[in-house]
Amino acid sequence: MNSPMSDRTANGQLFTAGIDVGSSAIKTVVLRTAEDDGEKVLALRTDRIRKRDLRKVIQEAYSMALEEADVAPDSVAYAASTGEGELVDFRRGHFYGMTTHARGAVFLVPEARAVLDVGALHARAMRIDEMSRVLGYRMTSQCASGSGQFLENVARYLGVALEEVGSLSCQASTPEQVSSICAVLAETDVINMVSRGISTADILKGIHLSMVGRYLKLLRAIGAEEHVLITGGLAADEGLAQAMREQAAEAEMGLTIHTHPHSIYAGALGAALWGSFRHRVLARRAGTTEN
């Protein structure tokens, strides 16, 4: 093999990176694919964008991740972007969100046959096969109700840090349903509940339940059966996962809801994995054309 890329495949190992540019955070993954022991994750990081210059955040995140992984920038065979990847100017290729989340999901939980990706603005459900092919999907579109931002807003109105949301919600005893579905107007509802003396835990659980209601609809719409993996930022919220398990059981949907500590990196992971696959395909092609 003589393709210009093949030198990066030294010793049968290949380094790839996945950069998932989200609306609220950049997720970066560095991956090693070795012929003998498969794929190994070398670095994972999340960088909140806040109100900073996006290009800079991406650049920094990437450098730091490579540093963490101890990989030199020019030994990366394929840097793949996903999400809002236009600003990743060092990328070699781009894969779209569902492609990468599906791939990442199968990598994290091989038996997953459906993915529920809940990010800051959207939620989407995908049905996939064991090869991580997307068979069908549904997503929320122009309304942020039930999105991560919705939850973030509620947490802000309640004065609760995002990281605490999950554990609080799990402590709820008598969850209180919100009536307003609007991510913004829910504020009134929430504040009303606070003043009626409803505990923060019960409010959060109520919010989780109303979100879950929408997600289950998405999952039902795609015909999800068995194993579902939650990916995206909200996978970190165990309260959501718990509410989801309860509701799914109640609705007798026969679903097993999974989360994975690396769920939030599913997109970035998928990008890195596809990068590795694509690199080999292209290298093979280059090889065959030269022969």
Partner: protein, 390 residues
């Protein structure tokens, strides 16, 4: 871009962006006594209008540049967008150049719009064109002939003279010419989509809704010559798709650009069917009206609005995929478009029987955000790209 092509594209873009139909006004003012007749998207026998010496003008809503202020007052949020922007155009005097309006029976929304037009603009000519859903020449054909006859008489009255068979024959031949040019354009794009990006082809086509047909044919032919001369247009590793669902409300241009950016070559579509609904040539000799009648019965485009007596829905789509060597189908229908969206499951079934990949999403003519659509189309083209090699 060569200056010639750039000029051509600028001209057609300008026509596309002109919400005041200035070109139609100009055409009318060139000679006194000229008339222009508007028509809603498809199945309008433009030959009759042409034969009456009039300019048929395709009205396709207001796109994404028109702010809807009063149009919303006439339609609930769960009705598609095109009727409200069409009303907005009319209420803001942008359709002043039109002496009449034709509403073909595409769906109940357009049908009812014809009634709204009668109430809102009682002084203008309005006609609802009921297409026969019976394809027996003796039954549906007779009915259609009577409808066309009425239209012919009405137009003759507006023009102040009767439309002769000879005039009609001439119009048929002029439109045959235009249809041939458009077929060539579609074939050329299908063969080498990188030379004829759809976002550009669309504009070239769209000019045909406002320009006299003869002029439009010339533009199409010129475009066919010029586009291949661009040397920066190269083949890329993208997926070939057929795009369907857009036979009425047209997508914003940004959507077409987004699809191409997301890695999809569009090799066939149902955009601007108003210019292309007649599949082949109409015979140029013999009784011209009867020729038009038979042409409708036998070779009009299959869309969701026309009944298909035998066989399954979607054979034409499968044909198109095969003929154009497409790798997948994107259903892209206007939100709340009942005909397109009710048709979709049947088309999906047809594709699934053949194992053709497909995806679907909705738009409205004024959609401004394409992030979600880009993700969906991108994922689709990714999957074609990745899985065809796996």
């Amino acid at each position: 871009m060569t200056t010639d092509l750039a000029q051509l594209v600028e001209r057609v873009s300008h026509l596309f962006e002109d919400l005041n139909f200035q070109s139609v006004r100009d055409w009318k003012s060139e000679e006194p006594g000229r008339h222009a007749i508007g028509y809603m998207p498809i199945y309008v026998p433009r030959e009759l209008v042409h034969a009456a010496g009039m300019l048929p003008v395709g009205i396709l809503g207001g796109g994404d540049r028109l702010e809807i202020i009063r149009g919303d007052a006439y339609f609930q949020s769960y009705i598609c967008h095109i009727p409200r922007s069409t009303i907005e155009l009319a209420l803001t005097q942008r359709l002043e150049a039109l002496d009449g309006m034709l509403f073909p029976s595409i769906c109940d929304v357009i049908r009812n719009l014809s009634g709204m037009w009668q109430m809102l603009f009682p002084e203008r000519y309005v006609r609802y064109i009921d297409l026969p859903q019976n394809f027996d020449p003796a039954v549906g054909g007779t009915f259609w002939r009577q409808e066309l006859d009425t239209l012919r008489t009405d137009l003759g009255r507006i023009a102040g003279r009767e439309i002769t068979d000879r005039e009609l024959q001439h119009s048929v031949s002029v439109y045959n010419e235009n249809r041939r040019a458009l077929r060539q354009l579609y074939e050329a794009r299908s063969a080498r989509p990188w030379l004829f990006p759809t976002s550009e082809v669309y504009l070239v086509l769209r000019a045909g809704t406002v320009l006299p047909v003869e002029e439009h044919t010339a533009i199409v032919r010129r475009y066919l010559e010029l586009a291949p001369l661009e040397d920066d247009r190269r083949e890329q590793d993208m997926s070939r798709v057929v795009l369907v669902g857009m036979f009425c409300e047209q997508p914003p241009l940004g959507l077409l650009i987004t699809l191409e950016r997301a890695g999809c070559w569009i090799v066939d579509d149902d955009l601007l069917l108003g210019l292309r609904w007649m599949g082949g040539d109409v015979p140029e000799d013999g009784d011209p009206l009867q020729n038009l009648v038979i042409a409708y019965l036998e070779q009009s485009a299959q869309t969701a609005s026309v009944y298909q007596p035998e066989g399954r829905r979607g054979t034409w789509l499968v044909d198109s995929v095969q003929r154009n060597v497409a790798e997948g189908v994107i259903f892209c229908a206007p939100s709340f478009c009942d005909p397109a969206l009710l048709e979709q499951p049947m088309l999906v079934a047809a594709l699934e029987r053949e194992g053709i990949p497909h995806t679907q999403f909705k738009y409205s003519e004024n959609t401004g955000q394409f992030a979600v659509i880009r993700e969906q189309a991108g994922t689709f083209s990714d999957s074609i790209r990745l899985w065809s090699e796996a």
